[in-house]
Symmetry: C2
Subunit: 483 residues, 2 copies
């Protein structure tokens, strides 16, 4: 994508370590690994091919998953009339500071917003489409761009004024069905994060203050980043009948009664690419989870002028034998040394590197190097596909375990505010009792900047004292600072 000799991309190593200056490390890595670039518009990003491939792989896995469980894709307009956006007051209040509006061309036309989320425009239409219990469940999803005119500092993938996401919007005959749906999608997100991104997540309901505006409750999936801040990875909202009543979405039930539907909405975004970068990366660059990596194996041939042809012949034979099962890239560029190439592919986080030179060819072997732990060993070419398959699984498991250990080691049970403050300051996630009172939560936030990321259990077997106000409580929650 750019001249390796003239531009900064890829050539230069990261100039700061991950533990040294996490924020700067992240910004450098996103750009140097070719994931994204700053756009010539404040707060916006350009998703580059390598970063976009990651999003395509996430999308493709999840899209299959939801289609198998009854979801159909659609596309609703980017524009939302002001009257619709304002129809549900709490929802509107929640989004209005970030809403971008288009300049009116015709004063007779209504004012239009750019979608900050699509509940309002979709549900206005649902009220026309849904008539009877036979139309339910209705499960629609769209992959689209979203605009939120952030005033806070923006960061590539984590907070930008435009991002890509999917938003699922379903309607059901009963609260039970909606509850089941909201849980199903939350569980599918968990599966995505754990089995594809190798990121362990904590899942639970949000407290009222962090609940989606207009929802009955929000199930959140939260991951702990290496700097001790939690990142919201996805949310699934049980909307109850709230929007249905506001937008008049009712159905005739089997008993001939007109009833409002029960609804859910749920979403994940390109933010996940940022999470993968932060959780797994190291001082050499990205470490990509094998199942979403755009390239599984990079082959670096080691040759001189006199044996180049012979080496490349073997390399291409090897590539062809693996092409059906894996994404293989051969780096046969003349102008770079093998060492330079090793650095580049380490920066890009390719899970497996195969080095192959004349001596390896004699021995009918290659040298296999794992990106996740640097392990290096010779492998016979015969039967190598099985070794690669197994190694990719080992890498995934190792990455998931490592991230799991980090989460475990950095999640602390606390009983009093002193401990709490110290641990939050030290970049820990804190597990504690909470009285359930929003004011108490607010006080803790003011004091420590930590918020409730999610509720582990609202009805724990044992009681404990709320960390904020010492009231006896059965509600166990996770507190952390958050992105």
């Amino acid at each position: 994508m750019s001249d390796k000799n003239n531009t900064k991309e890829n050539t230069e190593k990261l100039t700061v370590g991950k533990s040294e200056d996490f924020s700067e490390w992240y910004n450098q890595l996103v750009q140097k690994a070719g994931l994204a670039d700053y756009a010539p518009i404040s707060g916006c990003m350009i998703v580059k091919p390598y970063g976009y491939s990651l999003w395509e792989n996430i999308k493709s896995w999840f899209d299959k998953k939801i289609k198998k469980t009854g979801v159909q894709n659609v596309y609703f307009p980017l524009f939302i009339p002001e009257s619709l956006l304002k129809k549900e007051a709490e929802h509107f209040e929640g989004f209005v500071p970030e809403v971008a509006w288009i300049e009116r061309k015709d004063e007779k036309e209504e004012k239009y917003a750019l979608r900050p989320t699509s509940e309002t425009i979709m549900y206005d239409t649902y009220s026309k489409w849904i008539r009877s219990w036979r139309d339910l469940p209705l499960r629609l999803n769209q992959w689209c761009n979203i605009v939120r005119w952030e005033v806070k500092a923006t960061r590539l993938f984590l907070r930008t004024r435009e991002f890509l996401w999917q938003e699922g919007h379903t309607a059901h005959v009963s609260l039970e069905d909606a509850t089941e749906e909201a849980e199903l999608r939350a569980n599918q997100y968990k599966e995505l994060m754990e089995t594809q991104l190798a990121i362990p997540v904590i899942m639970g309901k949000k407290s009222k203050s962090e609940t989606f505006p207009g929802a009955l409750y929000t199930i959140a999936l939260e991951a702990l980043m290496p700097d001790g801040k939690a990142l919201q990875m996805g949310t699934s909202h049980n909307l109850g009948q709230h929007f249905a009543k506001v937008f008049g979405i009712s159905f005739q039930d089997k008993d001939k009664q007109e009833k409002p539907v029960f609804q859910t909405s749920w979403g994940i975004s390109t933010r996940l690419v940022g999470a993968v970068t932060m959780v797994h990366g190291d001082d050499k660059g990205l470490i990509l989870p094998p199942r979403i990596a755009p390239i599984h194996v990079v082959i670096v041939p080691i040759f001189k002028n006199d044996n180049k042809k012979a080496v490349l012949k073997e390399v291409n034979k090897l590539k062809e034998s693996l092409d059906d099962d894996f994404e293989i890239h051969v780096d046969d560029r003349d102008s770079y040394s093998p060492g330079w190439k090793f650095n580049e592919w380490e920066m890009k986080g390719v899970p497996i590197r195969l080095e192959i030179g004349p001596k390896d060819i004699e021995k009918k072997q290659v040298v296999l190097v794992r990106r996740d732990n640097g392990e290096k060993k010779p492998v016979k070419i015969k039967g190598i596909e099985k070794v690669i398959e197994k190694t990719l699984d080992l890498i995934h498991n190792n990455m998931f375990e490592r991230a799991g250990k980090f989460l475990k080691d950095n999640t602390k049970n606390v009983k009093d505010m002193q401990q709490f403050e110290k641990l939050i300051k030290d970049g820990k996630m804190v597990r504690t009792y909470w009285c359930g009172n929003g004011k108490c939560e607010e006080k803790i936030k003011d004091k420590t900047s930590a918020t409730i990321r999610c509720i582990e259990n609202e009805n724990a077997k044992t009681k404990g004292k709320c960390v904020g106000c010492s009231t006896e409580s059965k509600t166990v929650v996770y507190f952390a600072k958050a992105y």
Copy 2:
């Protein structure tokens, strides 16, 4: 998607024939077949699940095609700063009446437009990414939404204020490479239209007046709609060095000289779904080209209460045996008669219907009905997958031939203006000599509303008289009214 008893979708047949009132027929069909719906925003549409599946299938085929030929996907911002959009005057003038702007939140920030196309924002970035001949060719593509605030009357899929498309943007070291690229993409579009959509197209350069603002030349793919109007199905632009000079995209060549790159851009949009609807549909509904049809085969079991279980058992066995190779849908709803179901699936244009009742089961057969020609015949269940495969190909070929015959029958060679006017009035496409003068073209347009859709040949073997001004010419063109 909606209660078949209460809403208009699907239940009602089309109330006008295709030849009776083409425009009304089209509007009804798009909605009744479940392709799209009007949005609560003037000039915008909602792409419904069935219509979106068609777009997904088109997208999936073309995305694979371009990835195999060196293209990578990316995502650039929706927003374009005014200064970038205005940088190339001709380009800006071409788009400005349709550009939508967002309201400024901060007077210190620049004014932002919503992308009417992405040349300007992408090429500004290309100027930073491209340094050397080693970075070329650069071939990027994005699938995204586009905003053009139409003032003309809008129509579902054909002209809406927002639509979905892909835009490819490439950069090369030489004019030859750019020429080859522009032709490659045009040919891939032709292949898509002919082998997937079963729509024959005429391909050729545009005259200057219809060339993309800023391009050296535009290759257009044009299809003739049943009402005698041409529809532009896709375009591929050779941009030469024009944008490269304006945006400063230069590379250091092997000879160490800095040179501007040569570029192309090319796109197709959701408009293609409209083309498929118009070209193939009939008075009963859609007729979908098998290779993009969301459902290949609908199975309608014929049962009564006493034999329902036995029939459904056979039907499900049949479905399972075909599921791996085709998209199969079983319509086992109780509340509708087989005849009602036949009508519905004909409206939705499913290529093959299989009817199966107790007598068929006894005979180990099903009744196969083709949507394209209504042909109905019994087929043995044993070996049916081969019959289906072959029949889908036959349907595709028949549809393509039928559309080809229509195109041929309605394209007429003319020599004088009198003939020309009469034929254009009768809804024909006209093949004729043209002097090459824009003013002459303009006069013809004013008189007949017909425009040059594309140039067949700029250097024909025989000369002829320009239909407008009688000047001798070697340029053969197609004229038609257009969407």
